[in-house]
Symmetry: C2
Subunit: 517 residues, 2 copies
Amino acid sequence: MKTFKDSVKVGIDDMVAYIPGIYLPIEALAQARHIEYAKLNKGLGLTSMSYPDAHEDAATMAANAIRRLIEQNGISPQQIGRIYMGTESALDGSKPTASYVLGMLSQYFEEDFGNDCFRNCDVVDLTFACIGAVDAMQNTLDWVRGGEDRVGIVVGSDIAKYDLVSTGEYTQGAGAIAMLIKKAPRLIAFESDWGVSCKSVHDFFKPKRKYNKADIINEVLDMAGITSTTAEELLNRLNGHLEGKGIISMSDKAVYLHKDTPVFDGPYSNDCYQARIKEALQHFADQAQLETDEAITDNWRRLIFHLPYAFQARRMFSEIYLEESKKRGDFEELLKETGIGEPQEEQFETLKDFQKAKGQFLRAITKTARYRQFVQEKIEKGERASSQVGNLYTSSIFLSLMSTLEADLEANVALEGQLFGFFAYGSGAKSKVFEGEVQPGWKEVVSRFRLMNGLSDRKAIKYSTYEQLHRAEATESVQKPQNEFAVVGIHEERDDQEGARTYKWVAKVVEKRGAHV
Amino acid sequence: MKTFKDSVKVGIDDMVAYIPGIYLPIEALAQARHIEYAKLNKGLGLTSMSYPDAHEDAATMAANAIRRLIEQNGISPQQIGRIYMGTESALDGSKPTASYVLGMLSQYFEEDFGNDCFRNCDVVDLTFACIGAVDAMQNTLDWVRGGEDRVGIVVGSDIAKYDLVSTGEYTQGAGAIAMLIKKAPRLIAFESDWGVSCKSVHDFFKPKRKYNKADIINEVLDMAGITSTTAEELLNRLNGHLEGKGIISMSDKAVYLHKDTPVFDGPYSNDCYQARIKEALQHFADQAQLETDEAITDNWRRLIFHLPYAFQARRMFSEIYLEESKKRGDFEELLKETGIGEPQEEQFETLKDFQKAKGQFLRAITKTARYRQFVQEKIEKGERASSQVGNLYTSSIFLSLMSTLEADLEANVALEGQLFGFFAYGSGAKSKVFEGEVQPGWKEVVSRFRLMNGLSDRKAIKYSTYEQLHRAEATESVQKPQNEFAVVGIHEERDDQEGARTYKWVAKVVEKRGAHV
């Protein structure tokens, strides 16, 4: 058994999840898309997906989580040395979303703490798909270690939005998780040696989408029955006379579209996830200088994953489980349970055939009582919130941690001193595998999470409302903002403030709003 | 005199600048825009602006700089624990530009170092306008401090592009700077206490630009003489039938445009720069626990700035210079030289009048022999490369450092053990002020920079070529890529690889290319 070796303990002292107050039941989406609900519910573990209301974006969600984190811990803004943000839902290509968050928090706290209470707070965005907040945390842990009395906040905030009718649609979700990072943390402490694996791939990304202006014009004119020769002439006139004025009249031949939704290949992304975490785990093991015959996951009471959908980890962890069982020495028993032998490459004529057989074998493992027991013990508690929320991108792994701890508190499990293994993944692609130790103060902290209770207080929306929100056609919020930050305006004039976003704190108006998590 | 207090020295061991091989003389731009050249050259210090060739982007420039850094230091890819990138010219909203860089480097080094030689290298993008690479460096310094034998690379890479005919156009530039970060660095070591100031403002940003599809259609149809009732009908038909197919037929009512160029307010951004560095300097002083009557800049042999244009620092540093002269005790002499008294707020009826008078006074300071001497001694060497290159955004401050060191080496200045003060700024807005100590090995390292020599080897382009490149209408590179990474394709089909970028290393073909810096 491995013991925790870092002398100065640094880690997460407290966590707050902000999940939007509305959600779409997966059953409603399944109906609208003519998908069998059981496929999504029993197959992928999906029950509902949180959806941002009309007044919410990645910045408001982050600010909402951080505000509560600061208040419930009674810390002053001046104590907070940094707010590091992981997001792939950035609102700007230059100004970090974290700066918008800072703006909201400054507004909120200035009455009690003075005008510039966040003046010396260092904020920045880290971008690497779903792993950005983990990167933010790792760097903040290093920063806290490096000085006296340093307190930092790490926040992940995202809207996991996919195109309507796309195969990613049912894995949407939205929310933010904020974490207080300090020495002698009450919740969980992390060691400084992490495993990492990185490779440039295109499994999921958000490129600029190029559109030729001539094509746009032709498309419109075509609908109006006008020939493309005329279109060419029109384009030239527009370019000549309207330089810089609008989309059609921009100087370049092409325009680049920003879309919140990704370009992606789901099955390929699963493969990348699986390959990267395997490599990162190996790297972790190399650094931890474990015995070669040691089953690393045996050291870990719980496994905490990035979960694009609730059952992602249990579906794809069987490969590592298989390798571990060989080290542990119960491979023969496992084999007996699967009822089929492990396919060897030399038995097959093509690599494809081998891979297919390997896939079948790994799926067979997931059906063994042994593996199910392993999932139940080490993974399942982390899935519970994900089932209710969907994918949070950068915060997903931290939601899994909160979900696990809350479930363990409820089940009265003794976790103090126990080690957790973390498996983070970001498309594009990178994985990090690292280890945390549950701290003596965990119960007190977790008892305030109110995670599952908060989720059950949310309001369900109808499919039609969801579609309206998705198309950004909803002019009003489903639930009026109360005791939360809200987007109040986006400057639309084509001047030197074009696109500037304004926010404000909306105090509670009438009655208690249950939807706040 | 302050002494350097950190025991373990961590800092920049080596630096490489990659500047594109072509540039536009500012004189050519001045002519095309009917601006007096002297205003740009004598007024702002601009001589030429580097411009990316058709095959270049933020990823190729970064990869080019890092490749040389790795090779000239004889390090193996496996030794490099991280490549942290600062950029505001990101190619994707989810997949970090650093991952593209990793892809190119992996390709290049796999022959000598094996297939997955960068497998365990941690890469990520940090976004905060022009200060992202400084953030990347600060975090990498912390990371190097926290373990044995850690070696990291930090790279800033940007294309500072403004709209044609905009007031920012003459401050464009392009390039990347890569830095090797390790313990016992040969070049410059940094302390771990940094000053920071942060405030959410909109001085310069790159928002999503919203365009209503109905407006686009109306604009086109208007040119074709078709009434907008028909347009409304067309829009509905398009939405109904062509869901998800193209720009006009996207499901949402509006489309969001990505533009590489910013929304900005130049004078306001200058004010923000000035306010933030003043606050960050104060924060630095608080942490360094200096005597209240100590003129901090007296400790610093050179001042290294983020330079949006070459003379930015000398133009706006007079306010801090004024405050420092009061501490130093030569305020009366300074006052005598300006010939006017320092305006006091109570002398003026309105704040505006006071600010105007204060501005005049600060400008008068910049004209004193005393201040000019200060600029010449502490700032001017850092401006030299900027004059030839333009704004590099995230790398600008590091270009200023390289420029200073190379000029000092040439002038045979004894810098070992000298302290430099750094003033970083990123719009949106944040400043960091920090301190570095020149290390004994600096001369050997700087002698390989070949910065100014490399710049003089570049090829000038004509205004018309510049405009073609700016509009992305150039189908061929001005200079064929040689011994460098180049963009070879961007996937244009609307499938699960849409927008994916491919790169390759282009070996030297015929004769020596002089343009490489």
